[in-house]
């Protein structure tokens, strides 16, 4: 075998390895989803969706968990979206470019990589103990907001920087103030990019278990949360709790719960992909 042949062989091998590597994730995920669906799909019915938790697997439902997740989704969105967008606008449009702002920027980017359980501990100290919110929905939403704000800030800044300076000049040239330029030009032009980042971040928040466990969300909550100060559970915790029970009936419940959580996550990601696609098609400079 001469050198050229060897190289060609290497090339071929690498190609197949590459295909294998990219498929393996997809294959494993498909196998996992298929087995979950075959285990859990038949368990999803009206009774399952509208029942409180129970000691008996066939009576137990997921009502408190999905309503808890919905609460968390809404509260986290309410807290994190305005704060993150404000922070991003400040960093991009108002802050003087000096060493302090550089440091701030680097820190925010790094925060996106901090393990979520650390945020849980932070939330426990600040919101649960110092602010005395207890293991409430509000404490959970604040904690998860901390977790996802860096993601939204980074996405928002990217979307804002993509707005061409000629648009800003046009606006200023017409006598617009900085705030008017941001409100009428920059935000509408970057809305698609911001929305994409927001939804991906929220879908991450809904899927998190560790930080909410740390702040004291309970596995067993026998009532549907009525206010942000109520105790709560969320889908990932409920699933985690069911999986760890010996009764095979609960394993089926867990599979059903996973299907619901996955459906929510896929739906959110689908919306994000759609928004990004629409945004890219509509905004041509």
């Amino acid at each position: 075998m001469n050198n050229a042949d060897k190289n060609q062989l290497k090339d071929g091998l690498f190609k197949y390895f590459g295909i294998f590597a990219s498929l393996i994730g997809l294959i494993l995920l498909s196998i996992f989803i298929a087995s979950i669906i075959s285990d859990g799909l038949r368990r999803i019915d009206w009774q399952f969706l509208t029942s409180l938790p129970s000691r008996k697997s066939e009576k137990a439902g997921i009502l408190t968990a999905w309503t808890g997740s919905l609460w968390i989704f809404a509260l986290t969105a309410l807290i994190s979206i305005p704060l993150s967008i404000a922070a991003a606008i400040y960093l991009e449009e108002y802050s003087k470019k000096n060493r302090f702002s550089k440091l701030l920027e680097i820190n925010i980017t790094n925060l996106a990589g901090v393990p979520s359980v650390i945020y849980g501990i932070l939330g426990l100290e600040i919101f649960v103990r110092t602010w005395k919110l207890g293991g409430s929905l509000l404490a959970g939403a604040f904690t998860l907001s901390l977790l996802i704000m860096p993601i939204i800030i980074v996405a928002t800044r990217e979307a804002i920087t993509a707005v061409p300076s000629s648009i800003k000049e046009a606006s200023f040239g017409m006598g617009a103030t900085k705030w008017q330029t941001i409100w009428y030009q920059i935000l509408p032009s970057s809305a698609g990019g911001i929305a994409t980042g927001v939804i991906l971040a929220l879908s991450r928040a809904v899927g998190e278990a560790a930080p909410v466990i740390v702040i004291g969300a309970l596995a067993y909550v026998p009532f549907v949360a009525q206010s942000p100060m109520d105790e709560f559970t969320v889908l990932p915790i409920q699933i985690f709790n069911w999986v760890s029970r010996p009764d095979p009936g609960f394993i089926t419940n867990a599979a059903a719960g996973i299907i619901i959580l996955l459906a929510i996550t896929f739906l959110l990601n689908g919306i994000a992909v759609y928004l990004r696609y629409r945004w890219q098609r509509h905004v041509k400079w």
């Binding site: 000049e169 046009a170 200023f172 040239g173 017409m174 006598g175 041509k284």
Partner: protein
């Protein structure tokens, strides 16, 4: 200030050289002084880009700024609507006056200034919104919501910008769907909508084809009846066609400021002559 022309054999030329470089439009003294620069100096950090420029521009005239790339035409133009304020390293001294008022005075709100001094940029920059929305932007930011006023302004401005006939049936269409020349006229309409008295144009036709360019030039001819226009251009023929007076800049200095036909037929300075005849190093 630059070298004066060498071949000063005839007496007329010598006469001319005695005159000050700050000159007036002797042909029409009835027009008041609209824009004025007194000993203006501009710096970007340590870079001295406008050097002690004095000039006066009469109202309802068209003035062309010409000169080699990087000589400071855009910088000087943008002094009149304070668009350089956003550049962090920018600082200036001297005075820039509009209607005899120093616009760099602390009391002047830049937002009010820019309603009076519209600007058209080199690359057409309509907002990614409808034609209608583009034209009313200036009114919207002033808080004007009356639909009748808005509709009327859109029509008037588009007519003034010679675009109305082409777009009157599609006012809700995206401005980005227009051709480059139409976009530039839309930007002019947008500037006219807030009823300015001065319009600054920075190479407004340099991104356009000859037909679109001649439309813009015709438009400038019409607009000059009501507005004071200053236009930066690299196109000598264009400066000759549209302007009453021409200012020639060279490395930040105002070398010559005369009636356009004098500048082109009989430039005073060798630098000007070399520039307009295309013999520039």
């Amino acid at each position: 200030m630059g070298t004066s022309k060498g071949k000063s054999t005839n007496s007329e030329n010598i006469e001319k050289q005695k005159e000050s470089t700050i000159s007036f439009d002797f042909t029409d003294r009835t027009k008041g002084i609209k824009l004025e620069s007194k000993n203006a100096n501009v710096f970007y950090g340590d870079n001295h880009v406008i050097k002690d420029v004095n000039l006066q521009i009469r109202e309802k005239t068209v003035t062309a700024f010409i000169g080699p790339s990087g000589c400071g035409k855009s910088t000087f133009l943008r002094m009149f609507n304070r668009m350089n304020d956003y550049i962090e390293s920018f600082h200036m001294d001297g005075e820039i006056l509009i209607d005899e008022k120093d616009i760099y005075d602390g009391e002047v709100r830049v937002e009010d200034l820019r309603k009076n001094v519209g600007m058209v940029f080199q690359k057409p920059n309509p907002f990614p919104k409808s034609i209608y929305e583009n034209v009313i932007y200036g009114l919207k930011i002033q808080g004007i919501k009356d639909k009748k006023i808005l509709d009327q302004t859109v029509e008037e401005s588009l007519i003034s910008a010679a675009l109305w006939d082409e777009v009157k049936d599609q006012l809700n269409k995206s401005a980005l769907a227009l051709s480059g020349g139409q976009q530039q006229r839309l930007c002019i309409a947008r500037a006219l909508a807030v009823k300015p008295t001065v319009i600054l144009m920075d190479e407004p036709a340099s991104a356009l084809d000859p037909i679109a360019t001649s439309k813009i030039e015709e438009l400038i001819h019409v607009l000059k009846k009501e507005y004071t226009i200053v236009i930066v251009t690299h196109n000598m023929q264009q400066a000759g066609r549209v302007s009453d007076k021409t200012a020639f800049f060279h490395i930040g200095e105002l070398i010559e400021f005369e009636n356009t036909k004098d500048v082109f037929i009989n430039p005073r300075h060798e630098l000007t002559e070399r520039y307009i005849t295309g013999r520039f190093g």
